[in-house]
């Protein structure tokens, strides 16, 4: 890649940040060039972000329909999955899944709710609603 070919087309997922890449100058030497972003990177990052957003949105609808608990919604919203939430909260995966059941979630002790809230960086109040 020549330094004149370094993508400068912008990438909304970079939020105005520029990254640094190595490219060849006119003298043949590689040097660091700032890039305002490449559409390819934007596409693949956007794809991952959209997929996570879709999971959260889907969970939110099921919370309203009474099919899952706000815990699942928040897990997707903070871009976690069950294994990661289990590790971060120190609660077994099968228990996490069980806590997705609204009637089980409603009976959780403040201590368990506190562990989930802490793991996801939320307050217990936030955790109880799918907002």
């Amino acid at each position: 890649m020549l330094d004149s070919e370094v993508p400068q087309e912008g990438n909304s997922t970079l939020d105005g940040h520029r990254k640094a890449v190595y490219a060849r100058g006119a003298d043949g030497k590689l040097h660091l060039v700032q890039s305002a972003g490449w559409e390819v990177e934007e596409i693949v990052t956007r794809q991952a972000v959209d997929d996570l957003r879709r999971l959260a949105e889907d969970a939110r609808r099921r919370v309203i329909a009474g099919q899952t608990s706000p815990l699942e919604f928040h897990m997707h919203r903070v871009r976690m999955d069950v294994p990661l939430l289990a590790q971060a909260s120190g609660i077994w995966q099968w228990r996490v899944r069980r806590h997705f059941r609204p009637e089980v979630f409603a009976r959780l002790s403040p201590a368990v709710l506190g562990r989930y809230a802490e793991a996801m960086g939320l307050s217990v109040e936030q955790l109880k609603t799918a907002e």
């Binding site: 890449v21 190595y22 700032q34 693949v44 990052t45 991952a48 972000v49």
Partner: protein, 331 residues
């Protein structure tokens, strides 16, 4: 620590080490830190899942650069992890108060100064802490992928350092003991280059090096584009994301290594390495073309055709195999 100079880099770990060594009186470029530690690689790890998709790496695992620079530079790096987050914070403050600059392993998800869309649960991001704001208590950080030095509130940094999951940092901090020395280039450079060729060509596992690229090609070919289009797109997107994410730009690691080979050619007086550097730049461009073709299929500008992407990968594997063979002979 007002005399610390931030500079932007292409990759976090090589960037941190380059800045740290420079601060300690040994100017070492980012590509040199990357090449001298033999950090270039390829790995396709179907067992390690990130959000349900396999891990693909274009370099050696985290900490490889930090550890790999010890021997050639006669350097001892001190690593500390903490079971108790409170002690981890106290230790960081103690080192900063003593005027040290400290490397930290962090999770990008919890670093608020990074763009929201790039903040996934990736736990092996390296940053340098070089001081604290006396008033607010904010940490002064040099994040190699950021354009300028940044600040981070203590609560956020604490979360980032003690995030859980794959490659959990456990508060890891690191700093050099003693003074780094300029190495004996004719001795260390050929050894470092040979090590990279061994990793790429002779790894005992079929998922590492050139064989790993072919294994990934096979996995992509096996995707069901008709019945599982969405999952297939996520899979190929992940492969490119791992190639691109957080500041490597296309075949980024190939370009960093090519720059290292140019430096090595000058230091050793071996023009053959210059020529090889040019070839590796071309291979890096092939990786970029692969990324472009993948993105077009994800967007639906081209029909989803995993077999075409697999063919492109095999072509890259052939070229890398020939390249690293020639590099071995030149070293």
């Amino acid at each position: 620590m007002s005399d610390f100079q931030h500079s932007q880099a292409s990759h976090c770990e090589s960037g941190v080490m380059s800045a740290m060594l420079r601060h300690h009186g040994l100017p070492l470029s980012e590509p040199m830190a990357f090449g001298l530690s033999s950090a270039l690689s390829f790995a396709y790890l179907p067992i390690v899942k990130i959000n349900g998709l396999p891990l693909v790496g274009y370099r050696m695992p985290p900490r490889f650069i930090i550890k790999g620079l010890q021997k050639p530079l006669g350097l001892t790096m001190r690593f500390e992890t903490f079971r108790d987050p409170g002690r981890g914070a106290a230790r960081l403050n103690e080192l900063l108060d003593a005027g040290r600059i400290v490397g930290l392993q962090t999770s990008v998800f919890w670093l608020p100064y990074l763009p929201q869309d790039l903040r996934f649960h990736f736990n092996a991001h390296n940053v340098l802490a070089y001081g604290r704001d006396a008033g607010s208590g904010d940490y002064l950080l040099s994040d190699p992928v950021a354009e300028t030095a940044v600040r981070c509130a203590p609560a956020d940094l604490q979360r980032a350092r003690f995030a859980k999951g794959v490659l959990a940092p456990r508060g890891l901090l690191y700093y050099p003991l003693g003074q780094p020395q300029a190495p004996d280039w004719p001795k260390v450079l050929p050894a470092a280059i040979k090590k990279t060729t061994r990793i790429m060509l002779d790894a005992p596992l079929p998922i590492i090096g050139v064989r790993g690229i072919r294994r990934l090609a096979k996995a992509i070919e096996g995707l069901d584009a008709e019945r599982e289009a969405a999952r297939s797109k996520l899979f190929i997107g992940q492969v490119v994301r791992m190639q691109e994410e957080i500041g490597t730009g296309g075949g980024g690691f190939r370009f960093i290594y090519a720059s290292f080979l140019q430096e090595a050619a000058a230091l050793l007086g071996r023009p053959a390495l210059d020529e090889l550097s040019g070839r590796l730049v071309d291979i890096g461009d092939e990786w970029r073309e692969f990324a472009l073709a993948t993105a077009r299929q994800i967007r639906g500008r081209d029909p989803l055709a995993p077999a075409r992407l697999a063919d492109k990968l095999r072509l890259i594997a052939d070229r890398e195999q020939a390249f690293f063979g020639d590099l071995r002979r030149a070293a």
